[in-house]
Amino acid sequence: MRQTLIIIITLLTPILARGELSVFACEPEWAALTQQLGGDRVSVFSATTAMQDPHHVEARPSLIARLGRADLAVCTGAELEVGWLPLLLRRSANAKVQMHQPGYFEAAMQVERLGIPTVLDRADGDVHAAGNPHVHLDPRRLLRIAEALSQRLIELDPAGRTEYAGRLQQFQDHWHARISQWESEAAPLRNRRIVVQHEDWLYFNEWLQLEQVATIEPKPGVPPSAADQKRLLQTLSAQPPELIILAAYQDDKAARWLADKLNIPVVTLPFTVGGDEHSNSLTALFDRSLALLLQALGD
């Protein structure tokens, strides 16, 4: 009898206490990274897809429910999610994932940020006091974020220390090799002049030394009016850029118009994991982005 009970308990244990760390990732890149670093020890939910603008997400009931059950929230931070995450946090009734708790992780805060405004004025559009939040497009920064995130996973799930450490090591080795490879592949992109839709390629450009000469949005988060478009066209006509870059989630109307007038190509990059059919992992995201750029700028 007692033996049967023990057997039943042993059988049930993996179901009752799966030990899985439930992770709420604000964006797909952090879902992918957490999955890569956590393996079977984590179950990851992504609050947004690559086709959604992470600045403007509705604080939907389903997201409140998901965050309510999470052990860890992995978000970009630097105010990217200021329009929806604070509300989700409050409504989630989840002590574990509140700001400054171990269960709350902000990726952008782990690395040096660019574009920190010296003056904070809403007349300048949707500015972020903590700097530009789109840090994931620099694989060197991503590596540092991975290290910090792995530490955090260990802190929350100490039993998995060996596995997390092993997975991080694996990621680091792989990533170091890829970065060198990407950098050499991307050599022809250096100093090429590009125009972007929104200021979300800052880190990407810095990494690849692409020269961003303009943004289509007159101010961050402000859609361009017809007059803005004409003004930009005039400015750029003297010395046209070679390419316009868009993120998969962005509206391409203004970019197409400008590209047509300047007779230059528009490239829609995946921006994050899931941004197109090829970009199904972080590695594939960078592979694909470089391939698209090299193809468009190929001489």
């Binding site: 086709m51 403007h56 939907r60 009931p61 389903s62 409140i64 429910a65 105010e79 509140q98 402000v222």
Partner: protein
């Protein structure tokens, strides 16, 4: 006195804003203004003929229309922050004109727990009740300049009170929240009472439908008791014929309200900022009993009052461009009250019903249309048209309104 209040409030705001701008360390998210300060400025130009009358309903506090021509709406100053790792606090001061004088009202001042665990949250202080869908939203977040008629008729706009709220979020992959409130119960449709008789219950259920759509359903109930709830009899004639001062007092009342609400949102590609359709409907029913006492100088009429009022609104708001939205709303409210005479002196039932209009059982309807331009998330200019029908009476209202948000602008709830 009010000017002093106002000066102080503004000085306070200025101090906070300038300190936080200077103290930028470029760190943390969402609370770099600590506390977060938000100032809403709201003004309008209104054109209409007749004041809002809701025959069959005893009118609550903020049920009057804005002044004709230029006027300010609610200027609202909100300060909020995490108190520590256990509590979140928020206070909203509303500065508004009532009958020619500027008044400062404390609309909300509450604390909320952050870390009770097991999905539980406790809120206490003064807060907007979570009954219905629209009730807990601040006025500046509404899609029309005014509250639906059923809200105006039952709550005098929205229900807020002092007390505690406990709610629980179910540990599920869909959204299920249940909650209860226990409050003083003296804000309209309550009145002076001995105990803390306001009691509310609510349940909300919601989820996504694929990547592009989401929904929420809610049901709620509210009940309170009052010893005395006073109001004026409906004044009609608008000064043409000099009216005697009349007074209607409800005594020993019992109020029970139930309501259901539904919201459906659809955004192509899951991009609500670009394009979004929001469908929303709410229904409320109020049953109340009281001893009604109507007096006009030395004359009076006393009766048992047994009232039943109900109403609903349905609305659709469509954002067809990141900076442009339009919307339609239909309102209907119906009263059905009974009075049985107890005692009278010089006034009979017929005269009483004529004076107070509480005997009306005609449905009042209203159709509204609006168009709004939102250059950014922080500013909005709205044009709205209302057409109201009641029996033979009809009235049109035009309003052009601006709503601007300065400083930290918190996330809007679903």
């Amino acid at each position: 006195m009010m000017t002093l209040h106002r000066a102080r409030v503004l000085a306070l705001a200025t101090t906070f804003v300038s300190t936080s701008a200077l103290a930028q360390t470029g760190y943390v998210s969402g609370n770099e203004f600590n506390p977060a300060i938000s100032l809403i400025l709201d003004g309008r130009y209104t054109e209409y003929h007749d004041d809002l009358e809701l025959p069959g309903f005893q009118m609550g506090p903020e049920s009057e229309l804005p002044a004709k021509g230029f006027s300010l709406g609610h200027s609202e100053l909100t300060l909020s922050a995490n108190v520590d790792d256990q509590f979140y606090g928020s206070a909203s001061l509303v500065i508004a004109d009532h009958d020619g004088s500027t008044e400062v009202e404390l609309e909300e001042a509450y604390l909320e727990t952050l870390g009770l665990g097991h999905g539980a949250t406790l809120k206490f202080g003064r807060f907007l009740s979570s009954i219905g869908y629209l009730n807990s939203q601040h006025e500046h977040a509404w899609s029309f300049y005014d509250a639906p008629l059923i809200y105006t008729a039952l709550f005098g706009k929205t229900l807020y009170d002092d007390g505690v709220q406990a709610r629980w979020l179910a540990p599920a992959d869909f959204f299920l929240e249940v909650g209860a409130e226990w409050t003083r119960g003296d804000s309209f449709p309550g009145g002076e009472n001995d105990g803390n008789d306001g009691k509310a219950l609510f349940i909300k259920l919601g989820n996504d439908l694929g990547q592009t759509a989401s929904w929420q359903l809610g049901a709620s109930g509210y009940s309170t008791r009052f010893n005395e709830r006073s109001g004026e009899g409906h004044s009609h004639g608008h000064g043409e014929e000099e009216e005697h001062a009349s007074e209607l007092v409800m005594e020993d009342g019992d109020v029970d309200i139930i309501g259901v609400d539904a919201v459906f949102k659809w955004a192509p590609g899951g991009q609500p900022r670009r394009q979004q359709l929001v469908l929303q409907a709410e229904y409320f029913q109020r049953k109340e009993t009281a001893l009604s006492h109507f007096s006009e100088e030395d004359n009076y009429f006393e009766a048992d009052y047994d009232g039943e009022q109900s109403g609903y609104y349905v609305q659709a708001v469509y954002r067809f461009h990141p900076q442009w939205s339009s919307g339609l709303r239909y309102d209907a409210i119906t009263p059905d009250n009974e009075f049985s005479e107890l005692d009278a002196n010089g006034i009979d039932l017929e005269e009483f019903l004529e004076e107070t209009e509480l005997g009306s059982d005609e449905t009042i309807t209203r159709q509204s249309a609006m168009l709004e331009y939102t250059p950014s998330e922080f500013s909005r200019i709205r044009l709205q048209y209302n057409h109201r029908d009641w029996g033979e009476d009809r009235d049109d209202l035009w309003v052009i309104q601006y709503t601007m948000s300065l400083g930290s602008h918190g996330a809007h709830s679903y």
